[in-house]
């Protein structure tokens, strides 16, 4: 059973067909790259999968469940977490608070628990802080933990996006251009680390990742499989080498670059 299958999804904005019968399948534990020229419909596809936009038609099945029409927060609760292409830092929250927001079903998210079970809330918060600090340390942001997220640079905000998503322990991640603006050395380390996460033999059998990226060398290195989108349709797919050799891709995308 695939982790995610998208079947024949269509979406128009006025006269623009952002997605025009888009279909793809991602197996559990895979890292799948999505490429395509600007305006190909990549972000729209992510928005639809994550419930931020309703498809005009088509079906989306995640982990055996039809999530077509479900609200974004419900989809996130099933373990499918997306990041934003244009990073959305919660500016007046600190970097640490941005991360602490992410874990799901926290005791302290209920009013009664805050007043009546402060010990449990505190204990869980302490665990989450530890985890957040480990992530921040890895991403080189630990020294900024008490800064407002709004004060971060563009690249740092992208890192914050990844860190926040990983705080959830997702089953599947949708990363929208995670490395744009991130320094190449760090990007490589994150890349390796994502692979490690995927390979990790935890109860989820590792994580499944779908990533939009314009940086071809990085994507080739990261992905097991690549889908090429153009004008809202999948025009090619396959292992990285196959895609690179595909003439239609070269024409639509690589050639233009």
């Amino acid at each position: 059973m695939p982790m995610l299958s998208v079947h024949n999804v269509e979406k128009s904005f006025g006269g623009i067909k952002a997605l025009d019968g888009c279909s793809l399948e991602i197996r559990k534990g895979a890292i799948v790259g999505i490429i395509g020229p600007n305006g190909a419909g990549k972000t729209t596809l992510f928005r639809i999968i994550s419930g931020f936009e309703k498809p005009d038609s088509g079906t989306i099945v995640f982990n055996g469940e039809d999530i077509g029409g479900a609200a974004s927060f419900e989809i996130a609760r099933k373990g499918l977490i997306r990041t934003f292409q244009i990073p959305k830092a919660l500016t007046k929250l600190t970097v640490e608070e941005n991360l602490l927001l992410a874990p799901q079903f926290q005791y302290g998210e209920r009013i009664w628990n805050v007043w009546l079970r402060p010990k449990d809330v505190k204990r869980q918060e302490a665990e989450n802080i530890k985890k957040a600090h480990a992530l921040l340390e890895f991403l080189g942001l630990l020294h900024l933990k008490h800064e407002y997220a709004g004060a971060l640079s563009g690249g740092q905000k992208k890192l914050l996006e990844i860190a926040r998503a990983l705080m959830v322990d997702p089953k599947m991640l949708l990363l929208d251009e995670p490395f744009a603006g991130v320094n190449p050395t760090l990007a490589l380390r994150i890349l390796e680390w994502l692979k490690e996460l995927r390979d990790r033999d935890n109860e989820n059998d590792g994580i499944t990742i779908m990533v939009i990226e314009h940086d071809m060398p990085k994507l080739m290195q990261l992905s097991d499989y690549i889908y090429v989108l153009n004008k809202g349709k999948v025009i090619a797919s396959g292992a990285p080498e196959e895609v690179r050799a595909n003439e239609r891709v070269v024409e639509a995308y690589l050639g233009g670059a």
């Binding site: 996130a76 934003f84 004060a151 926040r164």
Partner: protein, 306 residues
């Protein structure tokens, strides 16, 4: 001798001012939870003050024990807040602002016109007040510490909440609700919770206001009351509970100061009322110019961009 005489005369007045300020501080804390922490624009906060006050007084008048009447007032205010939120908070735009303005006016006209229930413009007298029979002398000398106690408890409970993971979700909604949604938080549910709790606090303030006034009528619940709460919140610094309390106290110190100054100024009471509003406007302009983050707000926050 003269000095002592003056002190004795002024003490009840000062106590009264502090008492009203405390009631408005509680009222404003409810709005601060909604606007300051969650970003909800409620322009009809006074409706919940009215619901709390009238429910308490009318139920008590019909024989319901006082404590139950207060609880019912608080509950009904919360319920109305929730019912207003359900159709409006799913919409992204600030429909809440429009609907709450309308709701507050509907409540006021209801109080004015449904005479069988509310006695209309005549208003209703408060039949009993907490521990009234046990308090000798000036009741306000008891009511003020009582209200102050309520204010402190409200403040502490709210501080605990806004510093908790629950409060963090509210703040994330205020900043950009796509983020909490993308992380699995039910944004709608949290907005409803904030609105219900904020309305309950306003309802409680309404009960206390009725105890102070002893006689309530629809004129006590004009739209301007909502804006007093807004001024308190903005003056002190949105999203800062201590600032809100400070704002409410400054506002009422100012009101009583101008009332006091009236004896020395060549203005009629009507002119003075208009002048007071003028001065509040001026005060807000000055705050916006020189301390736009509010008295206790954090300056750094203003320079942050999304």
């Amino acid at each position: 001798m003269i000095e002592i005489g003056i002190e004795i005369e002024y003490l009840p007045y000062i106590i009264t001012v502090l008492l009203i300020a405390s009631i408005y501080a509680i009222f404003s804390l409810g709005l601060n939870l909604e606007w300051g922490f969650t970003g909800l624009v409620n322009f009809g906060h006074v409706a919940f003050l009215a619901i709390g006050a009238y429910t308490t007084v009318l139920l008590n008048l019909s024989g319901v024990p006082l404590i139950l009447s207060v609880i019912a007032g608080v509950a009904l205010a919360g319920l109305c807040g929730g019912l207003l939120g359900i159709p409006t908070l799913k919409l992204r735009e600030d429909y809440l602002a429009i609907v709450t303005i309308g709701f507050a006016e509907i409540i006021r006209f209801f109080l004015l016109n449904e005479e069988w229930l509310t006695r209309g413009p005549m208003g209703v007298h408060v039949s009993s007040r907490p521990f009234e029979e046990l308090i000798p002398g000036d009741y306000n000398f008891f009511l003020f510490p009582f209200v102050l106690g309520v204010l402190v408890i409200c403040y502490l409970l709210l501080e605990k909440l806004v510093k908790s993971p629950w409060g963090r979700v509210l703040k994330s909604i205020r900043e950009d609700e796509d983020v909490p949604a993308s992380l699995g938080k039910n944004v709608f549910s949290y907005k409803i919770q904030a609105l219900v709790l904020g309305s309950m606090i306003a309802g409680f303030a309404g009960s206390l206001l009725a105890f102070y006034l002893q006689y309530i009528n629809p004129r006590n619940f004009m739209p301007i009351e909502t804006f007093y709460a807004w001024i308190a919140v903005v003056l002190g610094g949105s999203g800062n509970n201590r600032g809100t309390i400070l704002g409410a106290f400054i506002l009422w110190a100012f009101f009583s100061g101008t009332r006091f100054a009236q004896g020395y100024l060549p203005f009629s009471p009507t002119q003075m009322g208009a002048l007071r509003i003028l001065f509040i406007g001026l005060l807000l302009i000055l705050i916006m110019m020189f301390k736009p983050e509010g008295l206790l707000g954090k300056k750094e926050e203003l320079t942050l961009t999304k």
